[in-house]
Structures are given as C-alpha cells and as structure tokens.
Amino acid sequence: MIRHSLGLTLGISASLLPSGIAQAEHTKSVPVVTQVQGAALYRTSMTISNGNAAVTTPVNMRFSYRAPDGSFQIAQLAISPNLGPRKVQVFDDIVQEFKDQGAIRAADVNSPLFGTLLVTFDTIEDDNKFEAAAVARTYSAAPAGGTLGIAYAGRCFCLTGSQGRVIGAMRSGVFGNDGSTRANLGIINEGFGTTDVQVSYFDGDSGNLLKTFALSSRAGHVLEENEVYQINNLFADPAVPGTTTKLVVELKALTNGVYVSGYGVQLDNTTQDGAFFFFEEE
C-alpha cells in the first residue's frame, strides 16, 4: 500500500520506505465517533478485534476532533492489554474511554466531542487487513427503552478516500412506507495535509446543479488531516428548493493529492433512527 498515517505522524516520510516492502502495521479509519447531544444523546461503541490465530498485537487509537474552542486536537490511547489472537475488546462509549483514561485535555473533558478514530494494529500488516476489525455503533436511547443505532466498519486507511470525486445520493421527505426522512452528510479528510473540499448538490430529479461551495465557507476552516465535518439536514440549505426530495452529492478535495471520503446518514424524522452508508469513491 502506498502510504501510512502514523509514519507521517512520527515524522517518517513514506517516501523513505523502500517500495515493495509491506508495512508492519495496519490502520482502520473510522469516519466518526462521538459523544454529543443532538436530537438525542449520541454515543459510539467500538468493537475492536484481532482475527489472527497466533499473533498478539498492540492496538493504538487516535481520536482527532475539533474542540469547542476551535482548535484541532489529536488524542491517543493504547488498548490495554494488547489484543491476543482472536480476541475482542468492546468499549460501550469510546469517547468516554478517552476521557476516563485522561487522554482528552482538561478543557474538553466536559464537552461534547465529535471526530474520527484511527485504530492501528501494530503487528498486523496491511496485506492481512481482513484479520483486524474496528466496528463502530453510534447509538442513542430509544424513548420506550433499548437503543437505536447505526453501525459502520472501519476501513483500511491504505484504501480509504479518493483524490477524485466522492459521490452519494441522499433524500428528504416521505417515501411511502419507508417513512419520513432527512439526511446528514459527513466529509472526512483522509490525508495527507490540510484541504478544503468542494461540495456540489445536484437535484436528483432534474440533474441540475443546485449549489457548489467550498466546505470552509460553511465550517469556517479547512479540514485538517483526519478531521470530519458533518452537515446536518442538508436539504434545509437555502439553495435547495423546498420541493427537492433527492440529491446527488459530490465531494472533491481542493488540494491536489489529498484524499477525501464521505458518508450519508438518513434519519427517520419520527424515531431519529439513522441509516449509515459510505459514499462511492472514484
């Protein structure tokens, strides 16, 4: 695989690595983990597993988030003990785990947080990426008991995102028995370096371009490496006519060489239950 994030973090340029040599670690990119009050209190559980039959692996997590004061923060936490062969660790609230372990700076400990999570398995190579898994479930309490949630499996950082277009289709309103829905859009900078992102909305009925904008005009900043920004209820955008029920959304990094990914969440307006999917990547 061509590059690796932690190598860059440690100041080791990927270009220094001899080509053809497999990297002796593997990283899963989880697009969003959170602990935040929205329409409900949302939290994210993580199920992190080592499917190798013989190897025990250290597992390191990196939580990247934009703090309430606007600064970009990176918190790191190692799973303890190391993850043995065919073993699993479950965290019912991964952001709280970072807080409880002192990995979140004091200024943010009592704040709602929203960010990405990189999970690195130190002794599993990218070539064996299927042996490692990091499955997130972002959930909220249901009014009558139990929970509602969305799950998404972390993807190999080596393959995630596109330098070209990232495309998804989203919808809003009532679609028969499928209920009344609204849509949230997530945009992630998958590295390397900072970038702004061009976001385009096309009317899904006519194909007409409704709006193109730079994400920084909405977020107030460009996206840092491994930063996620979510636009909630994108059909409420003033540029989207109220009669619009379907959108094709396209994303593209505005800095050459930077990878971007995207996701959609369709929420039921009554239950607030979400349905998560990744965008297609060129």
């Binding site: 695989m1 061509i2 080509s19 939290r43 559980s45 597993s49 043995g84 062969p85 065919r86 073993k87 699993v88 019912d92 609230d93 070539d127 064996n128 299927f130 042996e131 490692a132 898994a133 479930r137 249901a142 009558a144 139990g146 929970t147 509602l148 949630g149 969305i150 799950a151 998404y152 080596c158 393959l159 995630t160 277009r165 495309i167 998804g168 289709a169 919808r171 679609f175 028995n177 499928d178 209920g179 385009s200 096309f202 009317d203 899904g204 009925d205 006519s206 379907k246 959108l247 094709v248 959609g264 039921d268 009554t270 239950t271 239950d273 349905a275 999917f277 297609e280 990547e281 060129e282």
Partner: protein, 280 residues
C-alpha cells in the same frame, strides 16, 4: 479509492488499450427483502448516477430462493425511466416493484421474499458513477421507522475467494444496550458454492463449532444467492454464556463469497449492519 502502486500502473496501461475499457457497471446489494420477521421488513432502494455520466437505463436482477418450492428465481426488471447524470430514482419497496411489474411468478406473489439485487448500467465505465443505497426498514412501535442502510458493491470485485471474518456480540454492553446478532452469506461468484463456517469464542479463542452451510440449509449457495442465519448465539452448540464470537467462512470449493452481520437491539429490534472483512 486509493490505488496500490501496481494497480495504478496497470490502470495506466489500460488507458492505451481501448478494447479493454469496461462498458457496463454492475453492483450487487447483499440483501433486499419483503418478509415478516420480528417485525415486517421491506427494502427501499435509491439508484443515483454521477453528474457528467451518460444517461443510462439500468436493469435490476433479483436473485431469491422461493420459499414455496426451493427453486432459485432471477427475475430482471429494466427501470421504467432512464437516469441522467446527477439524477436518482427511488423504489419504496423494491420487492413490491418486482411484484407490481408482474415479474414475480404467481406462486411467490404472496410469500415473504429475501434475496440479492444486482443492478447493471451499460455505458458506465467506473463503479463510482453508480450509487446504490438500500435501506431495509420496519415500522417502529411508536410510529416512524427503524432501518439499516448499505450500498451496492462492484459485482466483479466484491467478496473473497479464501476467507471472510466477523466478530459478533451478544448480551448487554453498557449504554450500548442489549444486542443479538444475525449473519448473512452471499455467493458473489458464477457457480454454486458451499461454505465452511467456524465459530470461535472470542473471549477464550476456543473453537465452538465448525460446520458447512449446506448442513444448515441443505444445499450450496447458488450464484448471487444470500442466506441469513438469525440469532447465531442461540444456535446449537453455542454455550449460553458466550458474549463475543468470531465467525469465519471459507468457500469449500472454488468460489467468491461475501458476508455481513447485523447487530440488533433486543428491545427495539433496530439493526446495525456491517460487512464482514475479506481476505484479498
């Protein structure tokens, strides 16, 4: 998608070999349904085409095993309207669309159906030009719906010829609620295939059981067919105290398979869907 160096080189070569350019894109949705389970489940489908792409009129092939006589059925429906670049079409209940089009044989019209859906669009050249999003949903007790979403995957490359893996859980995990797990297996290849499935206790690493899928469903998986095993923690041989389990599946004969898991909240029956990891 990020491209490994060797694949990038191969792609560059392909640019100079026009005869090898792909002229159709097919994506498969691992499961579409219209069935009564704990609640009544149906599948919504959205088909989108990227802006700048040619106008296409996709065709959809539903592959299901009839609950009436066990035969595999593969009706194909051409979308009623073409889709231009930047446009999308939706189907509130895609199985019902097939039924309403008269493409489901009479004996299967009034029974629950469960299968895969392959959508093919001629004239597209890259999988990213076609966006399929399915949502399998059910009515919630207090109104509204609960659902799970998943996208279509490139029918030529999805799955593994050697091994797929998932880790599942059962019981209560703090605020994340009480959960049970379903798993599904899809034959992504063109010939029938049986699967060897292994359950391991993911707390101890000890093997729980090892079996072939055909020993459960009495047949191999047909091309494009899906089979789902519900509430796997209550299956025979799994100790009642098991909370974490590793599930591995390998094709018994040459073939390409994929799999998925659904963790359901035991109170709301809301599902959370994710794909099994695939050995390259």
């Amino acid at each position: 998608m990020r491209t490994p160096r060797i694949a990038a080189a191969a792609s560059a070569i392909l640019l100079f070999v026009p005869a090898l350019v792909v002229s159709a894109i097919s994506q498969r949705i691992p499961v579409v349904t219209q069935v009564q389970g704990v609640v009544f489940y149906r599948t919504f489908l959205m088909v989108g085409v990227a802006s700048g792409s040619p106008t296409v009129t996709p065709r959809m092939t539903l592959t299901y095993r009839s609950p009436v006589d066990g035969s595999v059925q593969t009706p194909t429906l051409t979308l009623p309207e073409p889709i231009a670049g930047g446009q999308a079409q939706t189907f509130e209940d895609v199985i019902q669309t097939f039924k309403d089009s008269g493409l489901i044989r009479p004996q299967d019209q009034s029974v629950g159906l469960f299968g895969t859906l392959e959508v093919t669009a001629d004239a597209l050249t890259d999988p990213s030009q076609l966006s399929l999003v399915a949502r399998t949903f059910s009515p919630a007790a207090g109104g509204g719906t609960n659902g799970i979403a998943y996208v279509g995957r490139d029918a030529q490359t999805a799955g593994s010829g050697s091994r797929i893996v998932a880790f599942l859980r059962n019981g209560t995990f703090g605020s994340d609620g009480t959960t049970r797990a379903n798993i599904g297996f899809v034959n992504e290849g063109a010939t029938p295939v049986d699967l060897r499935i292994t359950y391991l206790d993911a707390t101890t690493g000890a093997k729980i059981k090892d079996f072939t899928l055909s020993s459960v469903v009495s047949r191999p998986l047909g091309p494009g067919e899906v089979v789902q095993l519900n509430n796997v923690f209550v299956s025979a041989g799994v100790p009642g105290a098991t909370r974490l389990m590793s599930v591995t599946a390998t094709p018994v004969t040459a073939g390409r398979i994929s799999g998925y898991a659904v963790q359901l909240d035991s109170v709301t029956s809301d599902g959370s869907f994710f794909l099994m990891t695939e050995e390259p």
